[in-house]
Amino acid sequence: MIVCVAVVGHQNNPLYIQSFTKGDDSLLRISILNVEGCSYHSLKRHHIVHCSLDVVDERVNNPKKSGLIINETFLGLLNPTENYKVYGYLTNTKVKFILVTTDLEVRDVDARVFFGRFHTAYVDAVSNPFHIPGKKITSRKFAERVSTIVKSFGLSSGG
């Protein structure tokens, strides 16, 4: 169950954060625009995303210690804290995608596929000539595509 996805720019500025509360079949979307509008759960997720940024930095700057190939875009499981698992992905343009999920058994492949689709949606959103680089992504189409990708997470790929 995906709880939150986030896009963070290269100066660690948030470009897009979307939370998905637990629901039966419907995913309720809470968009975060200012602190006053946030609920406790949203802030908690912000906090988790923020902490995982440090892990991303550490992973990328110390390749030998973490045993990771320096070229990989998919950073893998960042930190399994409490009930959450956090996955990271770093693009060539220093934009980070963070995925927070409560699933206990998430396959590596699923996470990779998710980030692949998410990256495609992100590139399409950023190619919008009215989008200002460095500012938050306000495209509704992007939000819809992300919702679709989140819904199909873990359900596809037979076997």
Partner: protein
């Protein structure tokens, strides 16, 4: 599904951009026109770099990023690679394209090419045609600058068109700014 763009439309658009800015918005202020055209190229390069670096592993240093521009990026834009890459290993790269697509249809002033003895009138003519052609190069310079800046590399790009239709794009990386994050 691959979407295609009409090449003649792209070239018309570029000529029109240069024309509008040079003769319209910033007539008599070629420096300002050049800045605006370069800024447009910067944004385009910024967004293109997102798209074309999507499926690639991350770059490890400046040279890799420049090689990406010479090979993949140039192939996506112009269906060919950069013909020659030179560097002084101190942050300056010279990208040479022997037949720059966007300049391929521009006429070269034959008087300038043939004359060995440069007198005042032909010098002025050379200046004008070179200046006019030069304006068309701010856009590709901006594209390269935008691409590199999105990859984390600050640089300045200038163009040299002493041998049309060959074009040299000189990239000076301002400081060793490549970082992983």
């Amino acid at each position: 599904m691959v979407r295609e763009v009409s090449e003649s439309c792209v070239e018309s658009l570029l000529s029109e951009i240069v024309l509008s800015y040079c003769s319209g918005f910033y007539a008599n202020k070629p420096e300002l026109a050049a800045r605006r055209i370069e800024a447009i190229g910067f944004q385009v390069g910024h967004q293109l770099s997102e798209r074309y670096t999507m499926d690639r592993p991350r770059f490890t240093d400046n040279l890799e990023a420049i090689k990406f521009i010479c090979k993949d990026f140039w192939s996506e834009l112009f269906k060919k690679q950069i013909d020659n890459l030179k560097t002084n290993h101190r942050g300056t790269f010279v990208l040479q394209d022997n037949r720059f697509r966007w300049l391929a249809h521009m006429s070269i002033d034959p008087l300038v090419q043939a004359s060995g003895n440069i007198q005042d009138p032909s010098a002025m003519a050379e200046n004008k045609s070179a200046q006019a052609t030069g304006m068309h190069l701010y856009f590709p310079c901006g594209i390269i600058r935008g691409t590199l800046s999105n990859l984390g590399i600050e640089c300045a790009v200038s163009a040299d068109i002493s041998n049309l239709p060959a074009c040299e794009l000189i990239t000076l990386i301002t400081y060793n700014s490549f970082s992983y994050i």
